[in-house]
Homo-oligomer: 360 residues x 2
């Protein structure tokens, strides 16, 4: 097989450089004669990884000192329960801004614990799917927090503004964390499954502000309790050490590439290349308004959906993998997270142009 470009939405590709290093030291890490996954999470060697990764992430996202970084398990789905169980306190209402599939999924789980005030922010604008500006979201005065999902992997929507509120803002950043600069101080909790921009599936990142650690419900399982995890520095139970190690390597890679500002510029360039290709053709179509298009996940349809299978088969022959759209949506989707190169997006665009010429 020649060079492969992997557009999987998640678990997604990891930086080639990181994967080659991990392969090289897979059975003999740090000269120990064993794999990093075969040593105790409490060994001084692993604790060094834990400390360095936290420090690097703090630097990359400019995370203030009054925020804890937790490395946990369970994915964003676990956080759909952990967020209300940790943050509601005696409150029974929380704002849930609904802009797509994952925001809706979070609402469903939150209903076990509170009455979500669901704010549908999807609108049609210029015949495209758009998101209401944050200053028009109808937040409730009684909400314990405001939850939203700034990047919808399935819908291909990204929300880049924040409401003005004195309530903690909680964001599911699974699919756009580290892809663009953010002001962490504006959030109460940021969480993210690792399998898009951080590392392999099985690791979940939670960034939580100090003052939100004391509201947990009695029935909250300890493994999801932010205070327990913060007090134990994410070692209340055995963490997913190999995934954590890979995340640490991804953070190092990102720093070497110039950090989040640099990768953001790169991500904008990649997305522009692909959206331009789609917009300059009547053969392909993307239904999201340009103001809300995701930099990370680009869903697109072929005008003639009968060609879908042919498109996927020929793409595969060109080393362009995992372009099939989500099963609930159909069509195509190219996920172009941090680890995807401009070269990879160019290869996809070249193929799309060629495919159009062949079948249009």
């Amino acid at each position: 097989m020649d060079k492969v470009y992997n557009f999987s939405a998640g678990p997604a590709m990891l930086p080639r450089e990181v994967m080659l290093k991990a392969q090289k030291e897979f059975t003999n890490w740090n000269g120990l004669g064993t794999s990093v996954m075969e040593i105790s999470h409490r060994s001084k060697e692993f604790l060094a990884i834990a400390r360095q990764s936290e420090q690097d992430l703090r630097e990359l996202l400019v995370i203030p000192d009054n925020y804890h970084i937790l490395f946990c398990q369970g994915g964003a789905r676990a956080q759909f329960a952990a967020v209300p169980m940790n943050l509601l306190g005696n409150n029974t209402i929380a704002d849930y801004v609904d802009g797509g599939y994952w925001a809706t999924s979070a609402v469903k789980e939150a209903k076990r614990y509170c009455t979500p005030n669901v704010i549908n922010v999807t609108r049609e604008r210029d015949g495209k799917r758009a998101i209401l500006p944050a200053n028009e979201w109808l937040l409730s005065d009684d909400a314990a927090y405001v939850h939203f999902c700034p990047n919808e992997t399935i819908d291909g929507i990204e929300i880049t503004d924040l409401p003005e509120t004195n309530k903690p803002i909680v964001a599911d950043m699974s699919s756009n964390i580290l892809s663009r600069p953010i002001d962490v101080s504006k959030y109460g909790v940021i969480y993210a499954g690792a399998q898009k921009n951080i590392g392999p599936a099985g690791l979940t990142l939670v960034i939580v502000r100090d003052d939100l650690l004391h509201l947990a419900k009695d029935v909250l399982p300890s493994v999801l309790n932010y205070k327990v995890l913060a007090d134990k520095e994410s070692m209340f139970n055995t963490p997913p050490t190999f995934a954590w190690y890979l995340a640490a390597e991804v953070f190092k890679w990102l720093k070497k590439r110039g950090g989040v500002e640099a990768i953001y510029a790169h991500n904008q360039q990649k997305a522009a290349l692909l959206y331009d290709c789609i917009d300059n053709s009547s053969f392909y179509r993307n239904d999201v308004h340009p103001d809300n298009r995701s930099l990370m996940n680009v869903p697109f349809q072929l005008a003639n959906s009968e060609l879908d299978d042919t498109f996927l088969a020929e793409a595969m022959e060109h080393g362009l993998h995992a372009l099939k759209g989500h099963r609930d949506v159909g069509g195509m989707r190219a996920s172009i997270y941090n680890a995807m190169s401009l070269e990879g997006v160019q290869a996809l665009v070249d193929f799309m142009v060629k495919f159009e010429k062949k079948y249009a």
Copy 2:
């Protein structure tokens, strides 16, 4: 570094053969040109791993058809909450057989959800720590289930008999699953963190009987709900795919070695070698009664604890790693899970004899 033998209690060593195969195909699995951790859990390639691993595990442990196998996250610690939240139904009492550190930890978490009937089964016999036979455990008539931990990694205790009861028996087999044959039909739920006998940390196995899937509490987070996970075949959320793949490889390795019966014979041989060395010396000591000694975790003390650091340093020079006892216990501990070879235990014993001669 010459050959290394890694006695870590967990995350523990994995079979060398499995690690070398995983290394080889780390960046190009199954000819795809990508890592197995970079593909969708819903791809046909990953689903084949999921299916095969379930089938292999079912064969290895002779798991009846009325049991579901769940591949989840959160470790045994998550199950400490998941078990009562899934199984109590309207009951408020559960039996907790307490034979050591981990059983006690399970009790602590269970108290959030029920009134545990704690049955302390540790007794002194012949000056050693022993476990009361199961037919003498004072079970409650009102308990929803009976929970116990058949192998205590820190105490070095193994419980091999089961009480006669019509209540579901729930066992935390994190540190002895697949090390000896069991009769699964006698259990309601078996769970195990992967990081000792299954694979890397971050994967948790749950084997649960059909009729126990319908008792979950409303406040149970969906990611810990046995019914949700069973209905979705462990893909309610993104599973830790790389850990699952490695577990699948470990299952294949175990089958090739002759299955659980064969590894059990091997484990008995290893343990006998090490316990004999300890018992034939007044320089070393193990405080557990021979009837209840763990085949997996062998804690031992030096008569002169001032030699502890020297022992650990010289062991390390001999390629014998991670022998330091748990921080709550001190002394030494050799964990000799399935992946540890007889050769490794022999190397440890040879070193211990030599060390005794030098310092006794």
